[in-house]
């Protein structure tokens, strides 16, 4: 346990430092009072207005923000896990965004074109999204393992292929809904209610089944990585491919599996977005949750538990960011905090590497410690 805490300390400090820097940025552009108030509003928007509730306010003043935070966190958990799983196999999946776009489209198509009972329809739509994301990621895996194309390059390019293919052609072309009643809508046809992810808090909040599902997926990924033989083999393949090969582990197969799982997770994020809040593939897929996944994964130390905690934290910040607008502070500040935290985490890695090199140098010469 102590070891786990120590591994988390740099991430926590990085996030804290990012919060401080952002506060200074707001204070410099406005003044300190606005900065402090903005942070307070962000807190209220993220975890609820507890003072008002305790003064006898409606339960909704805490449930609605929490629900909003949970919806955002669900997406960040899934894309963060996507990047983290690939990392464990030694692959850098920059393509979560593309995989998410493809997954979202698959969910929208299955949700709108197929009619089935809710018990069947929803799982089918989710499965379609996961499969689509996995296949999209496996293109990069195949290029890497058979042709030696670096996955950073291929996944970045596949992102653009996915966005262009889906946003610029399929959604405005073949999949455009047949116009009824004269007014055109952007995006694909609306999905059937049977494919909706059910809302858990009724009309108070938009939070839906996607959030508990994301948590369950995180638990599954954790168990797979840490507890199973396959997860162990995947981690070994990622940390020491040559040693893993000598130990009889099918390294390429494990890497391909991990990449496929990464794609499936990103695809699920797309499904949660479409089936939970948008109910159609929108004209342009809004927030770049796939790219956020990279930051979430790195800040969360590429560890399923760390990713979940990080995603919950930034989900809350994102949800609270909208409330900052009340004070005329731009709502993109939570993203700035996330970006800065990533920067500091990356800096920490450089710093630790330097420190470690200095420390291990005497050890490699086998100095007895008297």
């Amino acid at each position: 346990m102590g070891e786990r805490w120590r591994a988390a300390v740099p991430s926590i400090l990085s996030v804290a430092l990012a919060l401080v820097v952002c506060w200074i940025a707001i204070a410099l552009t406005r003044d300190t009072e606005v900065a402090s108030n903005a942070y307070l509003q962000m807190l209220y928007g993220g975890i609820g207005q507890w003072p008002r509730y305790l003064d006898g306010g409606d339960l909704a003043v805490i449930v609605r923000p929490l629900g909003e935070a949970a919806s955002k966190a669900a997406l960040l958990i899934l894309t963060g896990l996507s990047v983290a799983v690939a990392f464990k196999a030694g692959l850098f999946n920059i393509g979560a965004q593309g995989q998410m776009v493809v997954g979202a489209l698959a969910a929208a198509v299955v949700g709108a074109q197929l009619s089935a009972h809710a018990l069947l329809h929803l799982p089918l739509a989710l499965l379609a999204a996961a499969v689509a994301g996995a296949l999209w990621a496996l293109i990069a895996a195949a290029l890497k393992l058979w042709r030696g194309v670096h996955e950073v390059i291929s996944t970045i390019m596949l992102n653009w292929v996915a966005v262009t293919l889906v946003d610029n052609w399929l959604v405005v072309g073949p999949l455009r809904p047949t116009v009824t009643g004269g007014h055109s809508v952007s995006g694909t046809a609306e999905i059937f209610p049977t494919a909706h992810l059910p809302r858990l808090l009724g009309d108070i909040s938009r939070m839906n089944l996607g959030f508990p599902m994301a948590l369950a997926v995180a638990a599954f990924v954790w168990a797979w990585l840490i507890r199973t033989r396959r997860g162990f083999e995947t981690r070994a393949a990622g940390l020491g491919p040559e040693a893993a090969r000598a130990a009889g582990i099918p390294v390429k197969q494990r890497m391909a599996e991990a990449m496929g799982l990464a794609g499936a997770l990103a695809g699920l994020a797309g499904a949660v977005l479409v089936l939970g809040t948008e109910f159609r593939y929108p004209g342009v897929l809004g927030a770049p949750y796939g790219f956020d996944g990279i930051a979430i994964s790195l800040i969360g130390n590429n560890n399923p538990l760390g990713v979940t905690i990080t995603a919950l934290f930034f989900g809350a910040l994102r949800a609270g960011g909208t409330r900052m607008q009340l004070l005329g502070v731009h709502k993109s500040f939570p993203e700035l905090i996330q970006g800065l935290a990533l920067l500091f985490v990356a800096g920490r890695l450089v710093w630790l590497a330097l420190l470690r090199r200095r420390r291990t140098q005497p050890a490699s010469a086998e100095v007895p410690r008297a």
């Binding site: 040559e242 050890a363 008297a370």
Partner: protein, 485 residues
């Protein structure tokens, strides 16, 4: 720790791994800084901030692993860092002339225009020495200089060292090969646990005394000659005309035929890079066989995968420990499971068995005296010798039928070497066939029942224990034609 190094002497510094030899020399060379104490040079206290200062004061060091740029020529390597320039560009003509002059002055025969990667290991070492001398070194520190050399090359090196001494240079050998040390050095300083325990004159001592000084206790002589019995066990490995290709498409194994029986240790002698590593890779399924055939544990050798090799009962202690034997960022217990991660006690069905793994790891750490015996430590936090103990423990624990060990004792101290050797002999007594591939000829000869000599991917000689002849084997290691007469 005090040590006096006189001008114009041949000094040897011996001690077990971890005794502090390399650290001491690294302090003298400016790589490490002393926490306390002074370095006096010609009676003056000096402080070396970096190797640059040490070089400026005439101290040169040849590391165990050469610090040469393989794709540059000899001359370019030698002048690297202080290149003669003309109009701001490297003046290759002058560089060659300067290097040739230095070579002539000290009696080296090197072609300054040859690319370093085309040279033999012995010549590369000479390039390192010339590089140090070219920078005006008066004191030359050689760290484990003979580790990679054939006996002939080693003797050549000793001749060079004596020649340098004649010219008033000081040469310091760091070694734990006692016989060599005795044959070349005049004075021998023995270190143990970071302290100087003795200084003896080479003429007044012998191997046993030095070994006792190094280890600090009396130990049975390790050179006990065992009687030779011809192999009678079943044939575990029979290879016929094996051929394998290197990364550049060149044949690295060219018609190798050999057999390994149960209950014998078969040594492979050869100079580095003559196909030994590739032979081990073919037998463990890591490198595809291009031509040839064979049987490994009753089934064909072709189309062997690492997994299949392990299933048949082949254990492998690879040469490149950090790259191939362990995952250095994983813990000791995770590395203990590597290769057996799917079998009890390391797994139960698809799930890892943490308790079983911990228990087995702790048992093995105790049995092999790994220090510190902490199963949770990342393997890279252990010293090289302890990492090797982990690897040997793991590979022997899986009850192999055939054991392929490559350089199993490189970088280990005397007691660890003795432990590994004893384990290999135990395995032989259990009826395991051992294929021992080592660059240390002494090791091959003391351990093996039979020896194959590899040169340029071909077997150039086969010897059984009664016919071991170091000089003849050394000759076969460097030239394919057997000597006549």
């Amino acid at each position: 720790m005090s040590l006096e190094i006189r001008a114009g002497e041949l000094l040897a510094l011996v001690g077990e791994n971890g005794a502090g030899k390399s650290s001491l020399m690294n302090v003298l060379y400016g790589l490490y800084h002393p926490d306390e104490g002074d370095i006096l040079l010609d009676g003056q206290p000096v402080r070396f901030k970096s190797p640059r200062d040490a070089i400026a004061r005439g101290i040169g060091m040849v590391h165990q692993h050469f610090m040469l740029v393989p794709t540059l020529t000899v001359a370019e390597n030698v002048v690297l860092g202080r290149e003669p320039t003309r109009w701001g560009r490297l003046d290759l003509e002058r560089a060659c002339a300067e290097v040739t002059a230095t070579c002539q002055r000290f009696g080296f025969q090197l072609d300054p225009r040859a690319r370093v990667d085309t040279l033999t290991v012995g010549s590369q070492q000479k390039v390192e020495i010339v590089k140090a001398l070219h920078r005006g070194a008066k004191v030359l520190i050689l760290d484990e200089p003979t580790a990679v050399l054939t006996p002939q090359e080693a003797e050549d090196l000793f001749r060079v060292a004596r020649g340098l001494k004649e010219q008033g240079h000081t040469v310091v050998f760091i070694s734990h090969k006692l016989r060599e040390v005795l044959s070349v050095a005049e004075r021998i300083a023995v270190m143990r646990r970071g302290a100087l325990v003795a200084e003896v004159k080479a003429a007044e001592t012998h191997v046993a005394e030095l070994a006792n000084l190094m280890v600090g206790e009396s130990r049975p002589g390790q050179g006990t000659v065992e009687p030779y019995q011809p192999p009678t066990g079943e044939v575990l490995l029979e290879a016929l005309a094996l051929k394998a290709l290197g990364e550049d498409g060149r044949a690295v194994l060219d018609g190798v035929t050999l057999t390994v029986h149960a209950g014998e240790i078969v040594g492979i002698a050869g100079v580095d890079g003559n196909g030994q590593r590739e032979l081990a890779e073919v037998i463990t399924g890591l490198r595809p066989l291009a031509e040839g055939q064979g049987t490994l544990l009753n089934r064909p050798l072709s189309a062997l995968s690492p997994d299949e090799a392990r299933r048949r009962g082949v254990s492998h202690v690879p040469e490149d420990r950090l790259r191939r034997a362990v995952v250095k960022d994983m813990s000791v217990e995770e590395n203990m499971a590597l290769g057996r991660q799917g079998h009890p006690p390391f797994a139960r069905g698809p799930w890892l068995d943490f308790a079983g793994r911990r228990e087995r790891t702790q048992k093995l750490l105790g049995a092999y005296d790994v220090r510190p015996p902490d199963p949770l430590l990342p393997v890279q936090a252990l010293s090289g010798g302890n990492q090797q103990k982990v690897v040997v423990a793991r590979e022997l624990d899986s009850q192999p039928k055939l054991l392929v060990v490559v350089q199993p004792t490189r970088g280990l101290d005397i007691s660890a070497v003795a432990q590994v050797h004893a384990r290999l002999r135990e395995e032989r007594a259990r009826g395991v066939g051992v294929l021992l591939i080592s660059l240390d000829l002494e090791e091959v000869l003391t351990m093996s029942d039979r020896v194959y000599v590899l040169f340029e991917g071909k077997v150039t000689g086969t010897f059984t224990r009664p016919e071991f002849d170091e000089r003849e084997i050394g000759r076969r290691m460097t030239c394919a034609e057997p000597a006549h007469g």
